[in-house]
Symmetry: C2
DNA sequence: CACCGAATTGGACTACAGTCCGGTTATGGC
DNA sequence: GCCATAACCGGACTGTAGTCCAATTCGGTG
């Protein structure tokens, strides 16, 4: 938040874009886990130092790639139509509907990018909980659970089974439909109380 | 499950014990994350190959170290007194009480060995969900949730916030008391339904 | 007790994440 | 247009997890 942000240098911007392009391509072709940071750097025509300097670590690279999708979902939550968003004045959806809509929409997002999301969450210890996006989801869910004794804590508990690592295992064992149904049931149980 | 298990060789047994001793000591002194597998091998007077052959990977070593504690808890659940165990015939505890007791006891166990547990769960992708212990907890919880529409799925959802990685973050942010209370509330919400 | 097959051992080897710093290049003021 | 300076670049370097296989050791058997 500098007063006049020191504009990103032209070469830096070019490299950033090259890295994101190269990474997206390699990930799509070979799978997220099979691609090394060296490979990304080489494919982008960039040194390893540059890669790590710009993105911190592998998790940071994943976060950058997910950024656009996350923003879409966040916008829909803040400004969008009901029941996911707040809707028009005088026509606000109930909190139970909003929570359920959030769970559904989050699952759409997470399941569509599961490997990338997993990389962004498991890169370094506690990575998931430090990223801005998690704080956003948490804040939103806590608001919708405001009537409960400890909304903050309950919001964390509701988000836990939405972690990529957990979703991956749950979907592999139960299939997507049962996971979705169960998450909805959990949301209902928490608002109902 | 061979008919007559080919007894573990004497030297192998000696090495296994040496490794577990050395690992326990190093972990206690320097913290789980600061100890490399090389260091464990050296301290145990054993080659690296041996270490990995016996324990698979770092997560496997952690599982072996936790084994005794896990068994204690499992025994208490299967044979112990109510409400954690089944209790005496004619004096069975309610499922709601048993679930709550399980959550409490599991938190005792998990919080007492958080780093080790974290290592055992995050070693390789999906490690947590493949280990026998997890299957046990899941089976137990699913039984206690048998009245629900999809007990298996709900059991996974209840276990998700008990993952070491999640507990670590939650306790750091909220403190142990709030996490315990919130987990209990979640259990109640699921049996109540 | 000497031998044999099988299990075990250990350290050299690979691959990968992440760090560091000397050299290079862009940018804004003059 | 030129220069000082700060930001950026890239590849060599380190530390660690995990693999591999030739040599060794064990434990039962004749």
């Amino acid at each position: 938040m500098r007063a006049s942000p020191p504009r990103e240098r032209a070469d830096a911007a070019r490299n950033r874009a090259a890295v994101l392009d190269a990474a997206a391509g390699l990930f799509r072709r070979h799978g997220v886990n099979a691609v090394s940071m060296d490979a990304v750097a080489t494919a982008a025509g960039v040194g390893k130092g540059t890669l790590f300097r710009r993105f911190g670590d592998k998790a940071g690279l994943a976060v950058a790639l997910l950024d656009a999708r996350e923003r879409e979902l966040q916008d829909a939550i803040i400004f969008g139509a009901a029941p996911l968003g707040p809707g028009k004045p005088g026509d606000e959806p109930g909190q139970s509907d909003r929570l359920r809509a959030f769970v559904d929409a989050y699952l759409d997002y997470a399941l569509a990018h599961l490997d990338l999301l997993r990389m962004s969450e498991t890169g370094s210890p506690g990575a998931r909980y430090r990223v801005g996006a998690y704080r956003f989801w948490h804040h939103h869910v806590a608001l919708l659970l405001a009537h409960r004794a400890d909304a903050d804590a309950d919001a964390h508990a509701l988000l836990a089974p939405l972690a990529a690592e957990h979703l991956r295992a749950a979907v592999a064992e139960l299939g997507e439909a049962r996971v979705r149904r169960s998450m909805r049931a959990l949301a209902d149980a928490l608002v109902a109380d």
